[in-house]
């Protein structure tokens, strides 16, 4: 396959979906956008085209078709909606990278709805048994995609998954979006990553970070 990848973003008009769409559209990759609200989607495309007039970005009217064309699939929907998306894309997602960006937060945003022995990423893998599910971007707030430099440092994006080649491919995408990738381990590491974002959200509320916060490993 050529270096150019086709990336399908399902739920592209949400805060995370549109942030990822904007940050990946300036690259050599081809980006396919799907969302239910076609008006919002059209204005997102216009917005992207203004910044990246030569970007290879397109609206696709059906999530199944978008994922059929894709090499990499990003379901940018809340954890609760992943089941429905998985149903629609299962047959065309075989062998493809599916990036799990969600956090299984409860309605009050003060706890996770998953039990400690699993994670949103592992649940998605169960729904898509023949896909290569990779956890990434779940510890990044949508606001940080505009400028991944926080307090003078490039924020980390932690990546977890079981397929070596897919981890490398997703690392490249993370670099394109301006963040600093760290491969954290196998897919079960997602449990920790999802809890990290729960912590960041609760700290953000307590200390008013306004979404301008992220994780960075400090080391010598």
């Amino acid at each position: 396959m050529p270096a150019t990848k086709t990336i399908a973003i399902i739920g592209a008009t949400g805060s995370m979906g549109s942030a990822i769409a904007k940050s990946l559209s300036g690259s050599s990759n081809r980006v396919l956008l799907f969302a239910r609200d076609i008006e919002k989607l059209t204005s997102l495309l216009e917005e992207i085209k203004e910044v990246h007039p030569n970007g290879d970005v397109e609206i696709i009217g059906c999530p199944t078709d978008a994922c059929w064309e894709a090499d990499i699939i990003i379901p940018a929907v809340p954890f609760g909606a992943e089941n429905e998306v998985a149903e629609k894309i299962r047959t065309v997602a075989t062998g493809k990278i599916v990036i799990s960006i969600s956090n299984p937060l409860n309605d009050a945003y003060n706890g996770l709805v998953t039990t400690p022995d699993t994670s949103a990423a592992e649940e998605l893998q169960k729904l898509l048994p023949y896909s290569k599910v990779i956890k990434a971007f779940n510890t990044s707030f949508a606001a940080s995609f505009t400028n991944p430099v926080i307090d003078g440092k490039i924020a980390n994006v932690f990546i977890a998954g079981n397929d070596e080649e897919s981890l490398e491919t997703v690392s490249e995408l993370v670099k394109i979006s301006g963040f600093n990738p760290i491969i954290a381990g196998g897919l079960p590491v997602s449990r920790t990553l999802e809890n990290m974002q729960l912590l960041l959200i609760s700290l953000g509320r307590k200390y008013n970070y306004n979404g301008l916060a992220g994780w960075k490993i400090l080391h010598n």
Partner: protein, 193 residues
């Protein structure tokens, strides 16, 4: 999505529905559009592609920038650079899409695993490679010993679909003749009718 694939495989071996399901778990369904590349020179050919729908070609580009077409692929055919696919070495071929296509991609590791799990697939592949080898020998002899007109006539008789669907300059490139020669041959043939 898999209709042509299982029709073709089951012409050579009979798969049970369980075996068909195993095949499906390894085949990557991929839609591609006209002019997109599925392989570019210098990249490793990671997948062998089965064509469910559409048309593709593989070709090399020489030092003077001329394209030489190695193979066309339409419904029911496989296309790849087998050398690069097996060795992991960079490919010297390009494969691009002539008509919007629906492909089923099989990676080398997936193929190995599939052959373990569905031994019948090995027989299917052997028969496929035998057929391809014979076709390649015939093409070699044809290109060494026959006139341009004989080559063209042979192609139209063997693969009338390809003649219909592929632009003339690509047919010329496949036969190793200039587009002008091809158009003269076509005129001569139609004058004789």
């Amino acid at each position: 999505m898999y209709e042509v694939f299982f029709k073709k495989v089951n012409e050579k071996v009979n798969l049970t529905s369980e075996e068909e399901d195993i095949c499906k778990s390894f085949l990557v369904p991929k839609k591609v559009r006209k002019k997109q590349y599925i392989l570019q020179e210098g990249d490793v050919c990671k997948y062998s592609a089965f064509v469910e729908k559409g048309a593709l070609r593989s070709y090399t580009v020489d030092e003077r920038g001329h394209e030489h077409i190695v193979q066309f692929a339409i419904e029911g055919w496989w296309i790849s650079d087998m050398y690069s696919f097996i060795t992991g070495e960079p490919s010297v071929y390009n494969i691009d899409v002539l008509e919007d296509a629906e492909l089923l991609l099989l990676s080398n590791p997936s193929q190995e695993e599939l052959l373990q799990k569905v031994p019948k697939f090995e027989r299917y592949q052997r028969l496929l490679v035998q057929g391809a080898y014979i076709a390649l020998q015939r093409r070699l002899v044809l290109s060494l010993s026959q006139s341009a007109e004989e080559k063209y006539t042979k192609l139209t008789n063997t693969y009338p679909d390809i003649i219909q669907r592929v632009p003339q300059h690509m047919i010329a490139s496949y036969l190793g003749i200039t587009p002008e020669t091809l158009s003269r041959i076509r005129r001569q043939i139609s004058d004789r009718k």
